[in-house]
């Protein structure tokens, strides 16, 4: 039988001859050395700190689980009993519009963990009915974040007016894609309603201009009290369903209540510009009811138009 010589794998001392340790392995203390007589006390007596840490972690997790369970139990009890004392004070604890210090990290918090890709918000909209409020929100977002904006035309539409293709204006100097915090991709497409897609894996598409506007506005990270949030939400719905799509009678009623609200505060949501103002202003612009609006509404519209994002969208209407 033909044989060949091999160099010994172990030296006399037992050290392995390999010159480079493979990177995929890790060192283990020698199993044999433990058994030698002068070894440290037997492992049974000494509790391994790693094990201890593991145990305490388990305890902690169990404790949190119990806490969660009791919280869920409490909630379900509350929901199941129809007139449970709903403690409103508990919920209105958040400050009226806490100053937000949003950065990329908070975006991660709001939009969920990602795998390093550009967080791209895709909005499909019909060029015959441009969602102006989303364009205003886009420019507002641009003041806050580094946004990579893009406009595309889908093959389902034949032609898109030139001004809509340039609705984001001149793009600043291009940077590598991954340096942007957010992507904003507007696709002119033959869709009955504006549609937004963000993460196709974890999120279903959002439909309707008002709903998308709410989502975009939430990216600013403003915190409102439950009452203010409800107010803002209701103004958004009013603007979309009554001001934009409603009959002239409904429109008149909305304008009157807007007038009343704007008599008390400078913006629909109170002292600050919110998504309600954006959506309502755009609805008014698109329905062409701006001229007949009452005084306070007129004044409010002026103050909207003084803001750059609104005035740039005005140009699209012409």
């Amino acid at each position: 039988m033909p044989m060949y010589t091999v160099r010994p794998f172990h030296r006399a001392a037992g050290a392995v001859l390999a010159e480079h340790w493979p990177a995929c392995m890790y060192r283990v203390p020698s199993l044999h050395r433990r058994l030698s007589p002068d070894a440290s006390p037997t492992p049974q007596e000494e509790v391994d700190p790693v094990l201890q840490a593991l145990e305490s972690r388990q305890e902690e997790i169990l404790k949190r689980l119990y806490e969660l369970k009791s919280a869920v139990d409490g909630l379900s009890k509350m929901i199941q009993t129809p007139d449970a004392d709903f403690d409103v004070t508990n919920i209105i604890q958040t400050d009226e519009c806490s100053p937000s210090t949003t950065s990329g990290a908070d975006l991660d918090l709001m939009l969920g963990k990602d795998y390093g890709a550009l967080k791209d918000i895709v909005i499909n909209a019909n060029p015959s009915l441009p969602p102006l409020s989303l364009l205003v929100l886009h420019s507002l977002l641009c003041e806050r974040y580094k946004i990579l904006s893009a406009v595309h035309t889908h093959s389902s539409v034949k032609s898109v007016p030139e001004n809509l293709l340039k609705c984001f204006g001149e793009q600043p100097k291009k940077q590598p894609r991954h340096e942007y915090q957010l992507g904003f991709t507007l696709i002119w497409k033959d869709v009955p309603k504006p549609q937004m897609k963000f993460s196709v894996q974890t999120m279903c598409p959002i439909e309707g201009e008002g709903n998308i506007a709410r989502f975009l506005f939430s990216l600013f990270g403003h915190k409102y009290s439950a009452v203010t949030s409800t107010l803002i939400d209701s103004w958004v719905d009013t603007a979309i369903f009554q001001l934009k799509e409603g009959s002239s009678k409904e429109k008149g009623a909305v304008l009157r209540s807007m007038n009343a609200a704007l008599g008390k505060a400078s913006w629909l949501g109170g002292s600050e510009l919110t998504v309600a103002d954006v959506v309502a202003w755009c609805a008014l612009q698109q329905t062409g009811g701006a001229g007949a609006a009452p005084d306070n509404v007129q004044k409010w519209m002026k103050s909207c138009e003084n803001l750059a994002p609104f005035s740039s969208v005005m140009k699209l209407l012409k």
Binding site: Y115, G116, A117, V122, H154, S155, K189, S199, Q201
Partner: protein, 505 residues
Amino acid sequence: MPSAAGRGQGQDQDHRPDSKESAAADDYAKERYGVSSMIQSQEKPDRVLIRIKDLTVEKADEVVWVRGRIHTSRAKGKQCFLVLRQQQFNIQALVAVGQHASKQMVKFAANINKESIVDVEGVVRKAYQKIGGCTQQDVELHVQRIYVISLAEPRLPLQLDDAVRPEVEGEEDGRATVNQDTRLDNRVIDLRTSTSQAIFCLQSGICQLFRETLIRKGFVEIQTPKIISAASEGGANVFTVSYFKSSAYLAQSPQLYKQMCICADFEKVFCVGPVFRAEDSNTHRHLTEFVGLDIEMAFNYHYHEVVDEIADTLVQIFKGLQERFQTEIQTVSKQFPCEPFKFLEPTLRLEYCEAVAMLREAGVEMGDEEDLSTPNEKLLGRLVKEKYDTDFYILDKYPLAVRPFYTMPDPVNPKNSNSYDMFMRGEEILSGAQRIHDPQLLTERAQHHGIDLEKIKAYIDSFRFGAPPHAGGGIGLERVTMLYLGLHNVRQTSMFPRDPKRLTP
């Protein structure tokens, strides 16, 4: 043409002895049918032949001459229904015993073999009800004369009706379809089907639109040699041919020549021509010979100038197809139903790392510098489609490690490269990159890849006398056709496909 008909009558009798008595009987229409003598260009009659697709209600009650193939024939007592076909159009023709046709004539018409070419004179009549199964649904042709121009053999290797039948899942009614090999073995007949006609009309359209668009953009069409002395990419996958006393190779890409044209200051060039790959892969999308649509272009400062130009060319092609070839697209989708091709303008451009992130989000485990596997490519296509609703997109910035040696590395991240692939319905159709135009760097990269510098000396030398920065790419025509139409095999879109197992017809 009474003389021809007379002669034809004689031949006809040779064919079918049972009709002997017909001569004896009083055949008042014997001048009106028969097998015409072979056309050897003996005369130039003034007869105008009308195209079948032009036979519409406006032509009602006109007497017309038509040349077509017998698509089907069905005799029923004193009448015979024929379907005459011309390319993808067909019309029903009726031969009925009456003033113009005798019993014998009806019998003759009913016995003409399918696929024979005939000249027919007839009156266009409005149909009382729509004729299903014909493209000309509102009219039919009442035949007055019929002459066989070229007779087909009675047995056909495959039936055209079977060849256009959509493949129903689960063998619903068990009706015959024709398998791929039978089709390819009898390609001439298979190509007559309305589906094949439409596919290749559309393919010609792609070529035409490619040329049109690029010429409008100021490109110059070049012709490159296909017999070359050295393999352009190191030596794998090339066919060797004997070349007098030595051997030569068949070009696996016109790349070297495209680049030489750029170095020769043509600035923007393209070529359309065969490309050979000696890859023994029997897949639905590999051929050993295919038509390459190749582009190479010098740019000013950034290779995206070229990417945008190529992507726009493809978008113009898609738009052109949508406008000019709607009938063909519909015809193909009757047999192979598929969603219409969707795209964005300008084309969506994603980066490789984003694609990897999207795949990881979908649960795929892969390394940063790993190439996309075919299933991952498809999955990515689905993910992109779901989010952006486009069947066409660009993937930019591939890892340097998975690209050929002449690819320009990324200026910021040395692990990336200035290279891109373009995808249609989740399958790659174009691969391209900014090429290294600096001989020094090119040498280094070649050495890094362990390529014998001697073999690519000519390539490197072409950049020694000043070379503009340039980028380009190559598109596979068959793949573009296949994916645009949503077909599943590239052999369907290659007229006479060549693969490791097929060299004929």
